[in-house]
Assembly symmetry: C2
DNA sequence: TCAAGAAATTAGGCATTCCTAAATCTCATG
DNA sequence: CATGAGATTTAGGAATGCCTAATTTCTTGA
């Protein structure tokens, strides 16, 4: 079905297209359709390069794209997107859980490995890892059939002040600087934080991380997804009823 | 040091060059220097493509290449070769030992993964696997410092007829058809075979594989490397003085 | 309403990597 | 030593994917 060009070199063409589809899909989770500018910024490319590629991707039926109106993944594009993200996040799980790498810098490595990973390897890697449903950043990993596990957590910034929450997901996992910022402050998946304050002036967020005060701007804080911690009253164990 | 072009796409340029260096290095193990034709055949490319690339690789100092005289890896090229092969064979070990893939078809998958594997992942993958010295085909895996473990085995065809030998290495691991041929006849690393006959007419080789007769041509048989099995006389265990 | 200013596209190029067809070189052999 | 077969390179092109500069389109606030 796929028009196999006579390129025997390791999937050179396809990995570029895959990368565009991956970036477009991720950006579309924030707002759709995606403009040329965010894609260019994300991939560190000049805008005309993106503009041109969007045309080509549209020709191939991977995206919908009317000039000046941004791009959206087509059905076919969303299929490819799920598959790429699946490979990507499975590698992230492998790199962190088995190779002992830190969650804040696995994105780049997974992003390279994913493009050289064919279906037989993906399938077996999934089994090897126990078919995990979430990556080290708490994002869902599509199954082999392309279905997505439910998204975890609610925006921290929409939660009542004063309570405790557990971090279950950190968005924009490809922003290594941001992840490092959080990593250095012990804010990671599983961390329990108390939301102390959201400054009315500029929205600066103050957290309490196991006794230590941590402050961050709105841009970073808005990427945190949390689950409320049920406050226990005199009942130490997690028993209910 | 490396002239980083502004290509952010996943190491597109480098992986092509890497692939050439890998192929040239492997072919050089058979006879050096390597002609344009074998490279073209191995990579399924037209000869002018190879001829042109050899010129470019020579410019970059990765190969030595005088027109009409074939190519050899330079010191720099041999360094890169060892590194690529290290990544390649570590992935082969991972794919077979941990993902349960067959040794006769891991070459292609490893060949794709290797180009997207940066040093931090290589190092940790090595540790994870216990820093193996040989791949599933019995070929040596260079260490992180570029040194090669000793080559295993002697050519089966140079061994006396009538004795038993253990297969310890199968050369030309990238020839999937050949490996499948052997796989289907239970000739693999660790297999013990008895060399029954080498026909004087056309060199056809007859083996006994645990009671089953197996015949193969010279081209295939010449790729087998073996270790003599010490014939035990009444002493079942492997004790020595 | 209309003139920045921002966003996007078009124009024109360049590097890489591949191809087919046409020389050219090498080497063994008559 | 001539010559043909085979190996190799040159010539000439094409596709991909990226860039800068210029132009066009959209948005928005005076
Ligand atoms: Mn990627
Ligand atoms: Mn992730
Ligand atoms: Mn390879
Ligand atoms: Mn191998």
């Amino acid at each position: 079905m796929t028009t196999e060009t006579s390129h025997p070199s390791v999937a050179a063409v396809r990995s570029t297209e895959e990368q565009y589809v991956e970036v477009i899909g991720l950006l579309e989770e924030q707002n759709s359709p995606v403009g040329t500018a965010p894609i260019a910024e994300n991939m560190q490319l000049a805008m005309p390069s993106v503009s041109e590629m969007l045309k080509r991707l549209a020709d191939k039926g991977l995206v919908t794209h009317a000039p000046y109106e941004g791009a959206s993944l087509s059905e076919k594009g969303r299929m490819l997107f799920a598959n790429v993200i699946r490979r990507h996040r499975l590698w992230e799980v492998f790199l962190t859980q088995h190779l002992g790498m830190s969650w804040h810098n696995v994105y780049e490595h997974a992003c390279r490995l994913e493009h050289g990973t064919l279906e037989p390897v993906t399938a077996r890697l999934g089994s090897f890892l126990g078919n995990p449903e979430y990556c080290p950043h708490g994002s869902p990993i599509p199954g082999a059939d392309g279905t997505w596990p439910p998204s975890q957590g609610q925006p921290l910034l929409e939660m009542p002040i004063g309570s405790e929450y557990q971090i279950v997901r950190i968005l924009q996992e490809n922003d290594a600087d941001c992840l490092t910022f959080l990593f250095e402050r012990d804010v990671m998946i599983g961390t329990v934080v108390r939301l102390m304050d959201i400054a009315s002036y500029d929205g600066t967020v103050s957290l309490d991380v196991s006794g230590k005060p941590v402050a961050m701007g709105t841009r970073v804080a808005s990427r945190l997804r949390v689950t409320p911690i049920v406050e226990m009253r005199g009942n130490a164990s997690g028993e209910s009823t």
